[in-house]
């Protein structure tokens, strides 16, 4: 019985091979960028006049916060592509994002709290950024909760795609309503950290870390997407070669 068939849109074997080849091209630059960023941030950058060396937490907090938001947007866009053009590759990418995004949102929260401690004297401060980050974590937990409660892969993809799209529309709204809410009760918190005011010695390492984390995310995504693709292309012939089954025969 012929079970050789290719999905109409987006060719999974091509994506699988491409992902395999590209992963090192993202992994190694990520490592180098982060190394440079760390050296710049921890050693070379001068201490902040107000927060002293405490500000160096920004070199992990900002990239984590950036990743938490960017990963959600990548997840929602690939979900939309999957839903509209029914592309397995898009669903594989979308499925790979959730855990990465959730873990970095949690990291952004933790580092934000640790950074806040010396500033505010408490670990938790209803600062608009931290609050938005917390709500974003709930969105991720909701997404993961929904995806894990549906056993059929196809249905789980489509249901979580709808949730991701509704979520991504709400993320900016939640963010600005939190800022609006926060500005009612008190002046904007002291942790005002306008990037442009940072001197180059402080700013460059931050940009390096942001680029490094982004490259790191892409490498992770390519690895995970290959696995998710194999789970979804259950019977296509190319999976044999991809899974290394031909060797064992």
């Amino acid at each position: 019985m012929a079970w050789v068939w290719f999905h109409r849109f987006g060719s999974p074997p091509h994506f699988y091979r491409l992902a395999t080849r590209l992963t090192p091209w993202f992994a190694w630059p990520a490592a180098l960028l982060c190394l440079a960023g760390l050296i710049g941030g921890l050693v070379l950058a001068p201490p902040d006049y107000q927060q002293g060396d405490g500000f160096r937490i920004i070199y992990v907090h900002a990239p984590a916060a950036w990743l938490s938001l960017m990963v959600y947007v990548v997840m929602a866009t690939s979900a939309a592509v999957g839903l509209i053009w029914r592309m397995t590759v898009a669903y594989a990418v979308s499925a790979s994002c959730a855990v990465i995004g959730a873990s970095f949102t949690a990291l952004a929260l933790a580092t934000g709290m640790l950074w806040g401690r010396p500033m505010w004297g408490t670990y938790w401060e209803w600062d608009p950024r931290l609050t938005s980050e917390l709500l974003l974590l709930f969105l991720y937990l909701g997404y993961l909760g929904l995806r894990n409660s549906i056993d059929d892969v196809g249905r789980a993809d489509r249901a979580s795609a709808v949730l991701a799209i509704v979520g991504v529309v709400n993320v900016p709204i939640i963010h600005y309503s939190v800022i609006w809410w926060n500005s009612l009760h008190q002046a904007p918190s002291v942790m005002k950290f306008g990037r442009p005011t940072m001197p180059a010695a402080m700013l460059v390492p931050l940009l390096l870390m942001l680029a490094g984390f982004t490259a790191y995310f892409v490498a992770l995504l390519l690895i995970r997407a290959r696995g998710e693709l194999l789970r979804r292309e259950r019977n296509a012939h190319w999976t044999a070669e991809a899974a290394g089954a031909t060797a064992t025969g």
Binding site: R56, L230, A242, G244
Partner: protein
């Protein structure tokens, strides 16, 4: 070196952040690789079963 580690008195907050970051970065790498390997293993099992059947 010690002055560097002291982080101007903020060591208690800076280093935990970096340790946490390293943990999350490492864990994600491990999870990603494990997810790929388990998917490939499952694919191999499925293909072996199909070959045995046909």
């Amino acid at each position: 070196m010690l002055k560097f580690l002291a982080m101007g008195g903020y060591a208690r907050y800076v280093w935990p952040c970096y340790v946490l970051t390293a943990a999350v970065v490492g864990l994600n790498i491990r999870w990603a690789l494990r997810s790929l390997h388990s998917a490939r293993a499952a694919a191999r099992r499925r293909i072996a079963a199909v070959r045995a059947a046909s």
